[in-house]
């Protein structure tokens, strides 16, 4: 599709290959406890060191869904307040632990949709301090300010 329009929230302001601003987060165990309480996921491997070690882990690990939420924030902050994250896919290929930096990034891989619902497809990732890509993922973000479907 060929579109040069730059107005409003058309994907005209984005191009394939654009990089999202990188964000690094270093979670604390307290962050994991807060997330456990807010999400209702009380599995002990995320805040109790002994349970984590009994499960064969080196210590407590960051919830996969917390990393997904951070990546959704990364893409949402970049796309702007009218954007809607239609699809968010994350695959957890390695563990991340509190006290260690988790570096996130993304790149625009495609543009789709029409003028009423322009969409950007973004590849996302998160890396451990050792440079291992512990999360890979993607998102489809609708950029339009077109009216939402009726609620009633």
């Amino acid at each position: 599709m060929n579109r040069s329009s730059d107005e409003g929230h058309s994907p005209g302001r984005f191009s394939v290959g654009d990089r999202l601003p990188a964000v690094v987060r270093t979670p604390t165990t307290r962050d994991l406890v807060k997330y456990a309480a807010a999400s209702g996921d009380l599995y002990e491997i995320h805040y109790d060191d002994r349970s984590a070690r009994e499960a064969g882990l080196p210590g407590v690990i960051v919830h996969g869904l917390l990393k997904a939420a951070w990546l959704a924030d990364l893409v949402g902050s970049w796309a702007g307040p009218d954007a809607f994250v239609r699809e968010l896919e994350t695959s957890y290929r390695g563990i991340d632990q509190p006290g260690h930096p988790y570096a996130m990034g993304g790149i625009v891989r495609g543009l789709s949709g029409d003028q009423h619902a322009p969409c950007v497809m973004v590849e996302l990732w998160g890396e451990s301090a050792r440079g291992q890509r512990t999360t890979t993922g993607s998102a489809v973000v609708e950029l339009t300010a077109s009216p939402l479907p009726p609620e009633h």
Partner: protein, 151 residues
Amino acid sequence: MTGLSLAEAQRFGNEQVGVLGAPATLSVEASAIRRFAEAIRDPNPVYVDAEYARQTRWGGIIAPPTFLCCLRPPVGTADLNFGSVRLNGGNAFTSHRPVRPGDVITAHAWLTGVEAKQGRTGDLLVVQSETRYVNQDGYLVATGRATGIRR
């Protein structure tokens, strides 16, 4: 402690594929959205500031994209009792409309596939499931897919 053997778990899983579990319901409160947004440290004011949110495309507060993971209905009708450790292998959300305070969301979950594998650390089971989230007006608000690893 480990319950079923790998072969039994595979058989059990195959039988449970497509069987909808009991529904779970969540009445979405603004305070829960705020607590979630704070826990993920997402600074977007549309999740917490009603005044700001009113002037956005959304016309009011909405929930962050992964908020519905707070609602975890049972997957299928019987627990797949394999292994002592559960790890999250991946998630995918498709959002159809935003979740708002006051919504009453009902979710059903089911297995979509079970695969027995020999991992580095022994037997493991890869469990795929889906969850469907419907609001009080009967609209599908989101679907979720999850890959769980049990060992």
